[in-house]
């Protein structure tokens, strides 16, 4: 690692101020950023640790009925504290990586990173969640901008994520056994207004909504409804773990499993 300064602010205001310095970078749980720094793929002048900011940690029900999760809340805390408020989300959090990764990794770090195989982006997009930053609110549909890209500006931090709670929901993950990320993962959320389906791990464009399945499931919420559908392998990820065709096939299979688990 190259050398850098380290700050541990305890308020959002101080963190934003510290991040205004040239080449300063936010540090969440470090589960992605620390390995990146070790490979010298990043050279920040200063890291601003967000995990000591009490107002950015924890899970609660907001006044509008949504579930609000602080941007620096570790996966293990979401797995526990969201269990009664939004069980499908808590279950997803409890399946990320391994216990030690879940102790440190945060929801804000996962979303800011937008790894094409990460789990949270699927929940955020399928739930139609809102990403609250230090300066604005961003709808999930506008937040993800392709592999490792988001709508965040430099120095902008995710302070909270607000999830509307669906009537029924589930996440079905086909784990890549070595990395434990999703080889393909599908989050299905059924609201009174319709069904949303978000797919992670499969596309080179990162997380996406499978609109065709949403339509079919909105009129018939059963695994049967997606059986006849198919996804084109064009633009799907191809690597040593799976071909684009394999991933395209998994999209339908995991969608059906998610619907089954939710129903």
């Amino acid at each position: 690692m190259y050398a850098f300064d380290f700050e541990r602010p305890t308020t959002i205001a101080d963190a934003v101020k510290a991040l205004a310095a040239a080449d300063a970078q936010a540090l969440g749980g470090g589960q992605t950023l620390i390995p990146t720094l070790k490979q010298r793929l990043a050279q920040p002048s200063k890291l601003v640790s967000l995990t000591h900011i009490a107002e950015m940690r924890g899970v609660c029900r907001a006044d509008d009925g949504s579930v609000a999760i602080g941007g620096a809340t570790p996966h293990a805390v979401v797995a526990k504290e969201a269990a009664s408020l939004y069980p499908a989300l808590a279950k997803l959090a409890g399946q990320i990586g391994d216990p030690a990764v879940r102790s440190r990794g945060t929801i804000g770090g996962s979303l800011a990173n937008n790894d094409p195989s990460a789990c949270y982006p699927a929940a955020v997009l399928a739930s139609g969640a809102t990403i609250v930053t230090n300066s604005r609110r961003i709808a999930a549909d506008d937040f993800f901008r392709g592999m490792f890209a988001t709508a965040l500006n430099p120095g902008e931090i995710i302070v909270e994520v607000r999830f509307p709670v669906p009537e029924k929901a589930a996440y079905a993950k086909f784990p890549q056994p070595a990395s434990r990320f999703a080889l393909t993962g599908v989050f299905v959320a059924k609201f009174a207004s319709g069904v949303r389906v978000a797919v992670t791990g499969a596309s080179e464009g990162g997380v996406f909504r499978w609109k065709e399945a949403e339509q079919a499931l909105s009129s018939n919420f059963s695994a049967e409804a997606v059986r006849g559908l198919s996804v084109s392998p064009a633009g799907m990820i191809g690597d040593l773990h799976g071909t684009p065709e394999y991933r395209a096939h998994l999209v339908r299979v995991m969608t059906a499993r998610a619907v089954q688990a939710a129903a």
Binding site: A3, F6, R8, G30, L47, T51, P99, A100, S103, R180
Partner: protein, 161 residues
């Protein structure tokens, strides 16, 4: 250089570190607590697992300065007060759950975290929980056996070789 203070195995400690000093480095090189091993240094193997404020973390993926004020427990803090092996450590010995011993500190710390959270896990729960700890020697069966034995369960029929 910035100073960091924390409690390690119940003892207040402090030292000078750089921003980039990892908790694993601070423990091993700063405090000479070399029981915590660095295997992969890429967050994959779990040899470096310690407890930070009661939860397991990979100390190769935590900055020392982020552990300011934290309670850290390492393998050196696992034995009983009289120096005899703790129940989990003894079970590892009894069930031949280690060969070269490189993964063992992380395995024991992860096992302790599991049993604190879930005192009587099933075999499947043990395997699932130890997903982030890799052992190149034992094939893992005896580790699973040892953890189940440490939880007070009869392991004669479990994880048959």
């Amino acid at each position: 250089m910035p100073k960091v203070s924390m409690k390690v195995n119940g003892k207040a400690v402090s030292g000078e570190v750089e921003g980039r000093t990892l908790l694993a480095q601070f423990l091993r090189e700063g405090l000479r607590l070399t029981g915590t091993h660095i295997g992969c240094d890429t967050s994959q193997c779990g040899a470096c697992v310690v407890h930070m404020n009661g939860v397991p973390v990979k100390s190769c993926a935590v900055f020392a300065l982020d552990a300011e004020g934290a309670e850290i427990r390492t393998i050196e803090g696992m034995a009983n007060a009289d120096g005899s092996l703790s129940v989990i450590q003894q079970a590892f010995q009894d069930h031949h759950a280690l060969q070269c011993g490189f993964c063992t500190p992380g395995m024991v710390m992860s096992a302790a975290a599991l049993l604190a959270e879930n005192p009587r896990p099933t075999e499947a729960e043990v395997r699932k929980y130890l997903e982030g700890n890799i052992c190149r020697c034992t094939g893992c069966h005896n580790i699973v056996k040892a953890v189940l034995a440490a939880s007070g369960q009869d392991v004669a029929a479990i994880a048959a070789e």
